[in-house]
Amino acid sequence: MFTSRALALGALTLALGLSPVFAEQIDPRDTAITARQALMNLYSFNLAPLVEMDKGTIPYDGVVATAAAANIMALSMLDQTSIWIEGSDHGYLESSNTLPTIWAEDSYLSGKVKGMVNTSVQLHDTVGNGIDALQTAVVKLNKSCNACHVYTIENTN
C-alpha cells in the first residue's frame, strides 16, 4: 500500500514539476489534467478511512484518522499553479470533469485553493478528538472541496 502511494506521489510530483519541460512535445493541458487527477486520487485514498469512520462502517481510530488528515493537509499545500491551466477542461478532454466556468472571473480559484488549505489544517487538528469532531470536520472539508467541485460534472457512476 505504501509503495503504491509513494509511486502515485512520485508521479504527481513529476507531473507538477516537469510539465514545462515537455511543453513542446505534449500539450500542457494533458499533463495538467493528469496531475489534477493524480492529486484527486490521492485525496480520495486518504479520505477513505475518514469517510468510512464517519459512515460507521469501520470503528473510529484517532491515530489512523490523524495520519490520513496529515496527508490531506500535505496535499492541499502543494503548489497547484501549473495544474490549473485554462482550457484543460471537459470540452478539451472528455476524461476531465472540470467545466470551463472554473476559470470565470467570479470563481476565484486561487482563493478556493487557500480555503482548502485552511480546512485541511482544521481537519488535521481536530479528527483525533473523537468521532463527533471527525464528523464535523469531514463535512466542513467537503464544503471546501465543493467550492471548486461546483464547476465540475456530477459524478455518481
Partner: protein, 297 residues
C-alpha cells in the same frame, strides 16, 4: 358558399373558445388555504427540500447566509430561450413580499402568477404539483422571515412563439399531472422518499430525459438527462444503472462524499447543501424510494 364560410368561422370560433377554456390558467379557489397556519421552522425544511435557494440565490453565492437572499438572476439557457430566476425575496415591490400563501400555492402547484397568467415551466411546477398545502403554508411562513432585496428581476429572453404565455396552458395539459410516477405498494419511508424526490426535490427535472417540447418523459423516469447546453449529462438514478447502496445514497446526501471517496460535483453540490439540512430519516427515505424506481425503458 357564404353559408360554408360562416359555418367554418363559427367552427373555428368554437374551437378557439374550447382551446382557451381548456388551457386557461387554473388557480386554486380563494378559500383553498383557509384554516392553514404556517410554521416557519417546518417551512425551513420545506425550503431546503425544495431547493429554492439553489436557483433563486444570486449567481456565484457560496456563503450560507448570503444564499438566503433570494434576489434571483441565475441564467438558464434552453432551446426555447433564456430564463432568469426572479427575485423571490420578501421585498414587496421587487420580490414576493406582497404575495399571500395562496399566491405561492398558485405559483408552485398550478404554475399561475398573481396576474393570473401562466408561468414558464423553467419554474418546476410540473414537479411541485403534489406539494401539500400545509407545506406551502409552512414554506411561505419561512420565506417571509428571509431578508428582502430590492434587485429587480431580469425579464426572460424568449423568441416567438415561446414568448406567448397562453400557449403554456396546452403544455400543462400535456405534461402536468397529479399522478405519481412510482405507484403501488410503498411503505411509509418509500412514500416519504417519493414525496421528496418526485415533488419537493424535483429530481426528475434534471435526471429525466425530456421530449422536444421540454416535457419530462415520465416513462423514462430518472433515466438520465442532458443539460440544455449539451455539455453536461445528468446521470441515471434507476437501480439498473445507479448501483449505490441505500447507505451510500443517504451518506452522500449528508456529507457530499461518494462511495469511492470523490466529492459531489456540479449542480448536485447545491442539492447536497440542501439535503444536509434534512433529517437522517428523510435522506434514508430518498434512498429507499430510489430502490423502487423501475429500470429505464
Amino acid at each position: 358558399m357564404q353559408k360554408t364560410i360562416v359555418s367554418l368561422a363559427a367552427l373555428a370560433a368554437v374551437g378557439a373558445a374550447g382551446f382557451f377554456y381548456l388551457t386557461r390558467p387554473q388557480p386554486f379557489d380563494t378559500d383553498a388555504m383557509n384554516g392553514l397556519v404556517g410554521d416557519a421552522e417546518k417551512g425551513e425544511l420545506v425550503f431546503h427540500a425544495s431547493g429554492c435557494a439553489s436557483c433563486h440565490m444570486a449567481p456565484g453565492t457560496e456563503d450560507e447566509e448570503m444564499a438566503k437572499i433570494l434576489k434571483g438572476g441565475l441564467k438558464f439557457a434552453s432551446e426555447f430561450g433564456t430564463f432568469y430566476a426572479p427575485n423571490i425575496s420578501p421585498d414587496p415591490e421587487q420580490g414576493i413580499g406582497s404575495w399571500s400563501a395562496l399566491d405561492l400555492a398558485n405559483a408552485m402547484l398550478r404554475g399561475v402568477d398573481t396576474a393570473g397568467e401562466h408561468l414558464y415551466p423553467a419554474f418546476p411546477y410540473a414537479s411541485y404539483r403534489n406539494t401539500t398545502l400545509q407545506d406551502v403554508a409552512d414554506l411561505y411562513a419561512y420565506m417571509m422571515t428571509l431578508p428582502a432585496d430590492q434587485t429587480p428581476s431580469v425579464p426572460h429572453e424568449l423568441s416567438f412563439p415561446f414568448n406567448l404565455r397562453f400557449t403554456l396552458g396546452a403544455w400543462k395539459l400535456m405534461f402536468v399531472t397529479d399522478k405519481w410516477v412510482v405507484d403501488g405498494d410503498l411503505n411509509e419511508s418509500e412514500q416519504r422518499g417519493r414525496y421528496l424526490v418526485e415533488v419537493l426535490g424535483h429530481c426528475g427535472e434534471c435526471h429525466t430525459p425530456r421530449n422536444v417540447l421540454g416535457g419530462m418523459k415520465r416513462g423514462d423516469w430518472l433515466a438520465g438527462g442532458i443539460d440544455p447546453t449539451g455539455l453536461v449529462e445528468f446521470p441515471a438514478l434507476t437501480p439498473d444503472k445507479f448501483t449505490w447502496s441505500e447507505t451510500d445514497i443517504a451518506y452522500y446526501l449528508r456529507s457530499g462524499f461518494t462511495p469511492d471517496y470523490d466529492s459531489v460535483g456540479g449542480e448536485m453540490v447545491h442539492v447536497v447543501d440542501n439535503y444536509s439540512h434534512l433529517t437522517n430519516s428523510d435522506r434514508e427515505a430518498v434512498a429507499a424510494y430510489l430502490m423502487r424506481v423501475p429500470a429505464a425503458n
